[in-house]
């Protein structure tokens, strides 16, 4: 490493340590931006999670007449699986339904009522999910075929479409609005960060002027500020990484209720490398680019 580069590194480190207020202000604003970026990432994750959850909840349930043979149902299942729009077909026997009911109502009066009738009132059913919500219409039509009517008790297709369509529109809107909000907030974060750093470097105007008067070359002036920005970005990202992880850990249970079971901490763990890249990438980029641009402004003759 050349002596000059060593000098620049040392000088940047010295500035980072000595310019307490400048360092703190820069570090803090980058921290806020990185934390916000992480939150938005999390928010986007939650939106997709919610979207999937809602779509999973949309399905067509087909209830079969009592005593329908399992083979007949399997035949229909196979036919359905051959339909290209169908994503998933799930069979639910009358016993399964009974068990599930018992499971869900162990402690209440419905269970007593069920025991009182001493039989299984449930019907066997299959639950069909489409690859795309707009395809429920055609699946529903498919099930209306005459050959099926001898075994099918009823098809719960939410009045073919209207509810499904509404739900679909809703999830689409949530996604669009959410992503637009994320884009908007990111833009604001970048602008605010850049301007704050520019203001803090404004206090360096006199220093930069002195350096120029003594005959320091551009690179020699810019270098230490670059290193200082890098260090600020690095510490801010590290701080955001740790605090964000802590927040996700502490709030995972509280917030999963709101987000239909979305677990922040699991999400954090599952996407850790992407998050690390996002946090350190945005932190280092903000620290270095804004310090470079701000110093550049004072280097003009």
């Amino acid at each position: 490493m050349s002596k000059k580069i060593q000098k620049i590194l040392k000088s940047g480190w010295d500035n980072f340590q000595r310019q307490g207020i400048l360092t703190f202000a820069t570090l803090f604003i980058i921290f806020i931006a990185v934390f916000l970026a992480s939150s938005l990432y999390l928010f986007a994750g939650a939106i997709y999670f919610l979207n999937d959850r809602l779509q999973e909840r949309i399905d067509i349930s087909v209830f079969f007449k009592e005593n329908t043979a399992r083979e007949d149902i399997v035949k229909i299942e196979d036919q359905l699986k051959a339909v290209p729009e169908v994503k998933k077909v799930e069979y639910f026997s009358a016993d399964d339904a009974y068990q599930k009911f018992v499971q869900d109502h162990k402690d209440d009066k419905y269970y007593e009522a069920l025991q009182a009738i001493e039989m299984n009132p449930f019907l066997a059913s299959i639950h069909i999910q489409a690859k795309n919500p707009s395809q429920y219409g055609s699946i529903s039509t498919f099930l209306k075929k005459d050959e099926f009517q001898s075994v099918i008790q009823n098809v719960n297709d939410y009045k073919r479409g209207t509810v499904i369509q509404k739900l679909t529109d809703l999830t689409k809107n949530i996604r669009t609005i959410g992503l637009a909000l994320i884009g908007f907030l990111s833009l604001i974060a970048v602008l605010v960060t850049f301007n704050t750093i520019k203001l803090t470097i404004f206090s360096q105007k006199a220093e930069i002027e002195i350096m120029r008067l003594v005959g320091a070359k551009r690179r020699f002036i810019q270098g230490p500020y670059f290193i200082q920005g890098l260090l600020c970005g690095l510490s801010a990202s590290l701080l955001a990484f740790v605090l964000f992880g802590a927040m996700a850990f502490l709030l995972q249970e509280k917030l999963s209720g709101i987000f239909l079971g979305f677990n922040m901490f699991d999400f954090y763990k599952a996407n850790i490398w992407e998050l690390v890249a996002l946090q350190f990438g945005s932190g280092l980029l903000l620290g270095t680019v804004s310090s470079l641009l701000a110093v550049q402004a004072y280097l003009k003759k």
Binding site: K3, K7, D14, E207, E209, I210, M211, A216, F220
Partner: protein, 231 residues
């Protein structure tokens, strides 16, 4: 070596349309190795004159030449090399506030292409010369005015410039240090460095017995080879 041709410098004043004339039709030549004192009341235009020579300000009219080169036309990339040939002592010190005394002085060497091995030694020597060997690790805000001024002087000397521009370099010094600084300036002048010194002090002007250019209201009133204080 340095040549000023019909220099006029006006500063725009904010809030009204008038401008302030700081220098008017000033011309003179400086030979290499000279020791010139610019003498005048405060507000006469001494600082402005030195700023023009340092290429820190541009003249409104006229031109400044350094080694035959018009400073008004100097390119951005050549300005560093130009500044390496000059040592500055500013009236307001202009020290780097987040660097220690030692680093402030060594900075002027680092910006030139100087070998590092010799550097630390030389910085220590020059700090000893100005009597700051005990404060090498202090920061500017921990120093008195006089101490800051001596750091500035050490910084102006360290890279052995061709010319030293010194604006009131003894303004904040006690008589002992004033005498020492003048001694140092005389010494480097004997070794061939051109010195341009601005002062309003009668004692200094009279003790130097060198060329004196007296400035009054932005104009040269007298220019004498062995001048005395005449205001």
């Amino acid at each position: 070596m340095i040549k000023l041709e019909n220099i006029t410098k006006t500063y725009p004043l904010s809030f009204n349309r008038e401008t302030k004339v700081a220098l008017q039709n000033v011309s003179f030549d400086v030979e290499a190795g000279e020791f010139i004192t610019f003498c005048g009341r405060s507000g006469a235009g001494k600082t402005t004159l030195l700023k023009l020579i340092a290429c820190q300000e541009q003249p409104t009219e006229g031109a400044v030449f350094f080694d035959g080169e018009n400073l008004g036309k100097i390119k951005d990339k050549d300005i560093c090399a130009f500044r390496h040939q000059i040592g500055f002592v500013f009236q307001d010190y202009k020290l780097l506030s987040y660097k220690t005394v030692f680093e402030n002085v060594s900075y002027a060497l680092e910006v030139t292409d100087y070998q590092n091995g010799v550097m630390d030694n030389e910085v220590s020597q020059i700090l000893e010369l100005v009597g700051l060997e005990k404060q090498t690790n202090s920061f500017p805000h921990e120093l008195s005015g006089g101490e800051k001024q001596r750091v500035a002087i050490a910084r102006a000397l360290i890279h052995r410039p061709k010319v030293i521009l010194a604006d009131e370099p003894t303004g904040n010094l006690d008589p002992y240090h004033t005498r020492d600084v003048l001694k140092i300036l005389n010494k480097v002048n004997e070794l061939g460095t051109t010195i341009l010194l601005a002062t309003h002090s009668k004692e200094i002007v009279n003790s130097l017995q060198r060329r004196v250019i007296t400035i009054e209201d932005g104009q040269i009133r007298s220019d004498e080879a062995n001048g005395r204080f005449i205001l």
